[in-house]
């Protein structure tokens, strides 16, 4: 490959071509043509994306259950209705996701609602929480919560009463009058418990609302085992709303606390991100981008591929090889030996001066005579012997070759002296022809 950089006019003069003749057509489509050609796919893809986005917006929230009792969840399991009503009543409702937020938001006269569905909080955190606020409403407490906040209260199983009547001294319960039947209950053990009040009794010692007064701090903990009382779906039934508003709306400030993973204490060694310098992630991103660019650099084709139609070529000896493998696989020793014998016999016939169509017996006789061998032995090799093993086959094949070589030597030995004798005889008897013709 070479590029000559002589001037354009020289090249044109040498080859009789003028520059700027017929413009060369371009096979690569322009960007505009490419866009026009693939406009259907572009629009189709855009349409699919738009439909997907619109679909997500339309169905957003209505299908999803969301977090149970979340203050910003309008689904049936949420509690947005209750929170909004409280706000309209002038209560400042703060939605908190961690104990830290609760600590920040809580005031001297606040109420805290705790619904720890997954049991994220441990005993210390619960104890701290109970001391934070004047009033704490615990929805569906688990065993650990009961241990921390109201050690005397136990579980009471599912209520089997057909209706739950307040029947107690608490004003909020009395205003509610009746509660959604059939939920979980808590039990108060038998004996004197002056600081524990139970309402909405299903039996003599199981209740759907228990209020416990802390003797030391004066804080009040209300335990509501049935979470359905507060959710959007059921809050309007029975006296649910009245009970909820009565318990939660007692002060101007309410902290609506649903614990999350953020409340779990961190343990173990520090993470990788904490140990590495800040530039590691951006450098990784940059190197990935460089790798993508390198892939594009190496992968971009330099023009379309060129087709090459290849000729058909077959090895001519394939039929021969195939036949040899067939012989070998079926151990066709006699057939193979016969093929070898036919070839040998033909060559022998030619060597001893018999024609192609000479009879086999003639060939055997002639070969035996010229090599001085036993006719029966020659006949055995050429005709009679039947190989019963591969070793015998090889021995016979070698014998055939030996016979051919012996015949060739014998023929040469008998021909050469005769030819020499004839040559010397002619030299003696006749003068050179040129002499004879001299005028």
């Amino acid at each position: 490959m070479s590029v000559t950089l002589d001037s354009a006019t020289d090249v044109a003069a040498n080859h009789g071509h003028s520059a700027g003749g017929v413009p060369t057509t371009v096979a690569t489509p322009t960007l505009r043509a490419l866009l026009r050609r693939s406009s259907f796919w572009i629009f189709a893809f855009a349409g699919i994306v738009i439909v997907a986005i619109v679909g997500v917006f339309l169905s957003g929230g209505s299908n999803a259950a969301g977090r149970a009792l979340a203050g910003d969840n309008a689904a049936p399991a949420g509690s947005m209705a209750l929170v909004e009503v409280l706000r309209q009543q002038g209560v400042t409702v703060t939605l908190a996701d961690s104990l830290v937020e609760v600590r920040d938001a809580v005031g001297a006269d606040s109420t805290v609602l705790l619904f720890d569905e997954n049991g994220y909080l441990d005993g210390d955190q619960l104890a701290e929480l109970a001391e934070l606020a004047a009033r704490t409403v615990v929805v569906a407490p688990d065993f650990l919560t009961l241990q921390a906040l109201a050690a005397t209260v136990g579980f009471g199983g599912v209520s089997d009463a057909s209706s739950l009547q307040a029947d107690c001294v608490l004003p909020a319960a009395n205003r509610a009058g009746e509660l959604l039947p059939g939920g979980d209950t808590l039990s108060i053990p038998a004996g004197e418990h002056p600081l524990v009040t139970g309402c909405f009794a299903s039996s003599t010692d199981t209740f759907s609302l228990i209020q416990v007064e802390n003797e030391a701090t004066g804080g009040i903990v209300s335990l509501v085992p049935d979470a359905r009382v507060f959710n959007n779906e059921n809050v309007t039934g029975y006296g649910n709303a009245a009970l909820a508003l009565g318990l939660l709306g007692e002060s101007d400030s309410l902290v609506w606390y649903l614990p999350t993973l953020a409340d779990l204490p961190r343990t173990g060694p520090p993470s990788l991100a904490a140990l590495t310098p800040g530039w590691v992630s951006p450098v990784a991103v940059l190197l990935v981008l460089a790798a993508v660019a390198a892939a594009f650099w190496r992968g971009r084709r330099f023009g379309p591929l060129v087709a090459e139609n290849l000729p058909v070529t077959v090895k001519a000896s394939e039929t021969m090889e195939g036949r040899a493998r067939l012989y070998a696989r079926s151990n066709a020793r006699l057939r193979a030996l016969d093929a070898l014998r036919v070839g040998t016999v033909q060559r022998l016939a030619r060597a001893v001066g018999l024609g192609r169509l000479a009879h086999l017996e003639e060939v055997v006789g002639a070969v035996a005579q010229i090599t001085g061998g036993e006719p029966n032995q020659v006949r055995r090799v050429l005709v009679d012997a039947i190989p019963s093993s591969d070793a015998q086959l090889m021995a016979l094949s070698d014998a055939l070759q030996a016979l051919e070589q012996a015949t060739g030597r014998a023929v040469m030995a008998s021909v050469v002296p005769a030819a020499e004798a004839a040559a010397s005889a002619s030299r003696d008897s006749s003068p050179p022809p040129a002499e004879r013709m001299d005028p």
Binding site: M1, S2, V3, T4, L5, S7, A8, V11, H15, H17, A19, G20, G21, V22, P23, T24, T25, V26, A27, T28, T30, P277, G278, W279, S281, P282, V283, L286, L289, A293, F296, W297, R300, F302, G303, P304, V306, E308, P311, V312, V314, K315, A316, S317, T319, M320, E321, R323, A324, R325, Y327, R335, A336, A339, V342, G343, R356, D390, L393, M437
Partner: protein, 435 residues
């Protein structure tokens, strides 16, 4: 649009400022985005400043023919009709078998000027080698992003059969001239015709002395003889299924080409008329009525485009094809393959029709691997191979005998030996006056 390695390197170099200026994640991410912005802007500017590869006019100068194994120069003229100076890499997209080697070249063309890109082609396959397109990749001043376009610039070059057998030609022509009256060695036979009288010189055959002329001229005169001239030779090439077989790393068809070319060269020297026909089920190539230098040129030209067809030869149509070439007595040389009896029945069936009117020679390549295998008897597998080879040779011998029985002549030889063997047979037939 394409990228260059320089651009990739530039992107990767962003590691330095990110590490330098980014102690924490936020700062480092900021540097990352700034770097990406800078790099992309540079690339875009470079792309915008690159010359358009579409504004290139391509002209091509190609020799029409080349013999297989020889090299030619393909010339490509690129004219920059755009407004900017064009710095580009050009790929001339020849077929691989055109033997263009590394077909990318760098060019720099100022606006309005023209440059020559030359490429040495050494084709390694017979036939027509094509090029359809030229791809131009222009770079900008920074060499970051490139523009690329493929231009249509078709070209083709015909690669002719090599005719290696021409090395045998001088010796055969010498032997042909021995038949002629021009040398002192006189060969007299049935197929010779009276040429002229000349004075006797020492060494002439006394039987050639013309006594009447001697009496008239008062000097010893001899007759000279020359072989018959202006006979017809028809070379019929079988391009069917069996011609695709590869013997000694050469397809049978190519060996047949060599043999046909040597025979044609020899025949035209001898003064006979040669017609060439390549046939399987239809005519693939035909040269008729040419003589001298034009004959070989036309033959190699038509041979260049012939490839083996994977169909069975239509032997029944062969006599008709020969009849359409000549109705006189001719030497018909059939270049085919002699295999097992079953595969040759078609040939054997039509031979009587040909031999009734013409002298027929059937030429076939004999696989030297088969002959070697028949003599190699080292172990068990080799003995079975030898048996299969003997069997194949026997088949060839049988078919050859059948062909001879039908009045035709047979020439079989290894690929290297077939062209001279066929030429020798032609000389022998000519000497015997059987044309």
């Amino acid at each position: 649009m394409t990228l260059s390695g320089r651009f990739v390197l530039l992107v990767a170099l962003g590691v330095v400022p990110i590490v330098w200026f980014g102690p924490d994640t936020v700062a480092a991410t900021g540097v990352l985005f700034i770097w990406l912005g800078v790099v992309l802007t540079l690339g875009g500017v470079d792309l915008a400043l690159a010359a358009s590869p579409r504004a290139v006019t391509v002209e091509r100068m190609l020799p029409a023919r080349v013999r297989l194994g020889e090299s030619v120069t393909s010339e490509l003229y690129l004219t920059n009709t755009g407004r900017r100076r064009l710095v580009a890499v050009v790929r001339d997209a020849w077929q691989p078998s055109a033997g263009a080697g590394r077909n990318r070249s760098r060019v720099a063309i100022p606006r309005g000027e023209r440059r020559l890109v030359s490429l040495t082609l050494t084709p390694f396959r017979r036939g027509e080698r094509r090029v359809e397109q030229v791809t131009v990749r222009t770079r900008g001043p920074l060499g970051l992003w490139n523009r690329q376009a493929t231009l249509n610039a078709p070209g083709r070059i015909r690669v002719l059969p090599p005719f290696h057998a021409r090395k045998h030609l001088p010796s055969r022509i010498a032997r042909l001239k021995e038949l002629d009256g021009r040398t002192s060695v006189m060969v007299r036979g049935q197929g010779t015709e009276f040429d002229s009288l000349r004075e006797y010189v020492r060494g002439d055959d006394v039987r050639s002395i013309d006594w009447r002329a001697t009496a008239r001229r008062n000097d010893v005169m001899v007759r000279t003889w020359r072989p018959e001239r202006d006979r017809r030779v028809v070379i019929l090439l079988d391009t069917g299924r069996t011609s695709a077989a590869r013997v000694d790393n050469e397809p049978r068809l190519d060996t047949a080409f060599e043999a046909a070319l040597l025979l044609a060269a020899l025949t035209s020297v001898a003064g006979d008329r040669v017609d060439f026909l390549a046939f399987d089920r239809r005519v693939r190539g035909r040269v008729q009525g040419a003589s001298g230098a034009a004959l070989l040129a036309q033959m190699v030209d038509s041979m260049a485009m012939i490839d083996p067809e994977l169909i069975e030869m239509d032997w029944a149509a062969v006599p008709g094809q020969v009849r359409s070439i000549t109705s006189q007595h001719a030497l018909v040389v059939v270049l085919t393959s002699i295999d097992a009896a079953g595969a040759s029945t078609g040939l054997l069936a039509v031979l009587p029709q040909l031999t009734k009117r013409h002298t027929v020679v059937v030429a076939s390549v004999l696989d030297p691997a088969t002959v070697l295998a028949a003599a190699t008897r080292g172990g068990r597998d080799e003995i079975y191979r030898a048996a299969a080879a003997e069997r194949a040779l026997l088949d060839v011998a049988r078919v050859s005998a059948a062909i001879r029985q039908l009045g035709a002549d047979v020439v079989t030889a290894s690929p290297a030996q077939l062209p001279p063997a066929l030429a020798d047979r032609y000389i022998a037939l000519k000497a015997a006056g059987r044309l």
